[in-house]
């Protein structure tokens, strides 16, 4: 969907709006927001930033480990804040900005509480457990919250616990072990599965269909896979064809889903970027070994050609999406 701003700019470029009427036209088309929109914007800005600042204040305070205040007072403070935030959530009702901020503050304070528990009683738990338990305990709030930001927090916690688990045990379920490569595979698999699940669930629950969250997940899955492919291209030893094969399948799946089923120009642009990077890296790996000037010139032309092709295709898709 083209934003009103883009439509307005399009008309301005055509000289269709008289210069002396631009100010009024901006207001009529709501490109310049009206009083109601400004009020909502400032309301949400102050609420989100204020809520997050308070939650971070609690986090920093506990992290400082100030001895002047006893542990029970600290527990009381953090637990009190969690309860207060949940009471605020119930008080404001399910779908308002205030309730969402309250739930997010409660989620952050819950993590602070778990960290403080570990700090106080020295339970001997591994760091991954903190993030995993945090993700587990916040799950009911994410379910009732019904907004993408809290689910993205949950995804971040899951990723963090996975990375920490892998670093602690040097593998997972004895399936993948040792190297950085295994970790990249795991992050790719986790985020791609989450992306698939998110897409499926978004068909039922429309509040999940906000594009920014899906794009973030697609990026979180795509970046490690691309890194794996680049590693396999530039590795001195024979790294095998698996990363390349999975990359080809992943690109094909992305094309089918985001070109045919649910067109998404951002994800397609990301795939083009990935395609250019991988192709040029592959060619560069073998062509630049001799360091000849011709190879550099050829690669430069290849990049320009691929970039042109990608931009041309994306514009075509964009136009199709708008018509």
């Amino acid at each position: 969907m083209i934003s009103p701003r883009s439509q307005f700019i399009e008309l301005m470029e055509q000289g269709a709006i008289p210069v002396d009427k631009i100010g009024d036209a901006l207001k009529a088309t709501k490109v310049a927001p009206d009083g109601k929109a400004w009020r909502t914007f400032i309301d949400h800005f102050l609420l989100w930033l204020g809520g997050l600042a308070l939650a971070f204040a609690v986090m920093f305070f506990i992290a400082y480990n100030w001895n002047v205040i006893g542990r029970f007072a600290k527990f009381g403070m953090v637990e009190g804040l969690v309860v207060l935030a949940i009471v605020a959530y119930c008080r404001f009702g399910g779908n308002s900005a205030s309730s969402k901020v309250s739930l997010l503050v409660a989620t952050i304070c819950l993590g602070v509480l778990l960290a403080f528990y570990g700090q106080t009683y020295q339970t001997g738990a591994d760091p991954w457990q903190l993030f995993f338990v945090w993700a587990l305990l916040m799950l009911p709030w994410a379910i009732i919250g019904r907004f993408p930001a809290i689910w993205i927090v949950w995804v971040v916690l899951l990723n963090t616990s996975l990375v920490l688990y892998y670093q602690t045990f040097g593998g997972i379920f004895r399936l993948m072990s040792g190297s950085e490569t295994g970790l990249l595979w795991l992050i790719f698999i986790l985020n791609t599965l989450l992306l698939a699940a998110w897409e499926v669930l978004a068909a039922t629950w429309h509040w999940l269909s906000e594009r920014w969250a899906l794009r973030l997940l697609a990026t979180a899955g795509g970046v490690p896979l691309n890194w794996l492919v680049l590693q396999s291209i530039f590795a001195d030893s024979d790294a095998g064809f698996l990363p390349g094969l999975v990359w080809v399948l992943w690109m094909a799946a992305m094309y089918v889903v985001y070109r045919r089923t649910k067109p998404d120009l951002f994800i397609l642009a990301g795939c083009c970027l990935s395609g250019i990077t991988v192709s040029v890296s592959f060619l560069g790996r073998y062509m630049l070994e001799d360091g000849s000037a011709g190879s550099f010139l050829f690669l430069s032309l290849v990049v320009i050609g691929l970039g042109t092709g990608a931009a041309f295709w994306l514009k075509k898709v964009h136009q199709e999406c708008q018509s």
């Binding site: 083209i2 009103p4 439509q7 700019i9 399009e10 008309l11 301005m12 470029e13 055509q14 000289g15 269709a16 709006i17 009427k21 631009i22 009024d24 036209a25 901006l26 009529a28 709501k30 310049a32 927001p33 009206d34 009083g35 109601k36 400004w38 009020r39 400032i42 309301d43 800005f45 102050l46 609420l47 930033l49 204020g50 997050l52 600042a53 308070l54 971070f56 204040a57 609690v58 920093f60 305070f61 992290a63 400082y64 100030w66 642009a269 250019i276 011709g294 010139l297 430069s300 990049v303 320009i304 970039g307 990608a310 931009a311 041309f312 994306l314 514009k315 964009h318 708008q322 018509s323």
Partner: protein
């Protein structure tokens, strides 16, 4: 013309702001991420082009004068290519040729002119500034204005003014975005320069957060002799933030004596005052305000990302304790929520239409 643009045209007709049939607007603006793709491929092609010059035409690097002439010719050639009616291939080619040419010119400035660092950076800034104005391509202009801002920062840092750059950059960015529609023929140019400045501003504020030690490390231990500290810089950004709020109030015809004006200005001053410690909040807030004032979602997104980035990195600052940071954030949080309460009390939901 798309159906959505037809709706906008109908709205304008209804308001009596346009007349006649809707113009044929077949051209569709590429989203920002497609432009990033163009910028990336242009940059990558430029790197290989430089490799080609380095390997095949090594004599170019032997003499600064040759590098300057070849670089200048390449930039001129790119300008000529970009004047050809829009064509994807030529656009990519020109971007790559221009970036490689700029690298040669910068090499010549450093290698051949034996200038002081501050003068050399100033020359680079002026070169980029002129390219930002002259080059008939949006992505090129964004890139050039970004590099111009960075080079100007480097120059000013050698003169000891690193911390005031943020304020200057924010003021220039604010001027661009507050007046983007004022000069229709220059609109695209102003927007491109505005994006370049905002991107540079976010990056510069990020590095400024890590303080003087980072600067010393960046400048290899040179004695910078700063004449303005971080607080002066933050005050300057605060003044710009208040100017932006004032300008927006003026745009909507609010008089200084009106309740909403006084509340907004006092709120902005208070917010700037409390964010003297948590640096970056003012920058993020201004970017969001500028974005929202023009329904620019990219700017609003950049503002949100910069705010999250600055608050997260506040944890890692070493010049103050976590306890002090916690107290500061507590005050910031309470002030923000107090401001919200005040706003909702002073301007009830049913009155905002009267005010604007």
């Amino acid at each position: 013309m798309s159906s959505q643009t037809e709706q906008v045209w109908a709205t304008l007709l209804q308001a009596g702001l346009t007349e006649g049939a809707a113009p044929d607007t077949g051209k569709l603006e590429s989203p920002w991420y497609v432009k990033i793709l163009l910028a990336f491929s242009g940059w990558l092609a430029a790197v290989f082009l430089l490799g080609f010059i380095g390997m095949g035409l090594a004599f170019v690097f032997d003499s600064s004068a040759t590098a300057m002439i070849i670089g200048g010719l390449m930039i001129g050639g790119a300008f000529a290519i970009l004047r050809i009616p829009k064509n994807e291939f030529f656009e990519h080619l020109a971007l790559a040729v221009s970036l490689a040419g700029q690298a040669l010119v910068v090499f010549a400035i450093y290698d051949g002119l034996s200038l002081d660092q501050e003068i050399a950076w100033l020359l680079v800034a002026l070169l980029q500034l002129s390219l930002a104005v002259v080059m008939p391509n949006f992505v090129h202009r964004v890139f050039s204005s970004f590099v111009a801002a960075m080079a100007f920062t480097m120059s000013l840092t050698f003169w000891g003014g690193y911390y005031v750059v943020g304020g200057i950059g924010m003021f220039l960015a604010a001027l661009c975005w507050l007046h983007e529609f004022r000069y229709p023929r220059q609109m695209k140019r102003i927007q491109a320069i505005g994006y370049g400045l905002v991107l540079a501003l976010i990056l510069l504020k990020g590095t400024a957060l890590f303080g003087y030690q980072t600067m010393e490390w960046l400048f290899s231990g040179n004695q910078l002799g700063l004449w303005a500290g971080p607080r002066v810089g933050e005050m300057l950004t605060g003044v710009v933030a208040i100017y932006v709020v004032w300008h927006l109030l003026q745009r909507y015809g609010q008089r200084i004596s009106e309740r909403i004006t006084i509340t907004a200005l006092l709120g902005a001053i208070l917010l700037c005052a409390v964010s003297m410690e948590v640096q970056g909040i003012t920058v993020g807030m201004v970017i969001m305000l500028l974005g929202f004032a023009g329904a620019n979602r990219v700017l609003v997104g950049l503002g949100i990302l910069s705010l999250l980035f600055y608050i997260s990195f506040y944890y890692y600052l070493l010049n103050t304790t976590l306890l002090a940071k916690s107290q500061t954030l507590l005050i910031v949080g309470l002030v923000l929520l107090l401001l919200r309460w005040l706003m909702l009390t002073i301007i009830p939901a049913d009155q905002e239409e009267k005010h604007v």
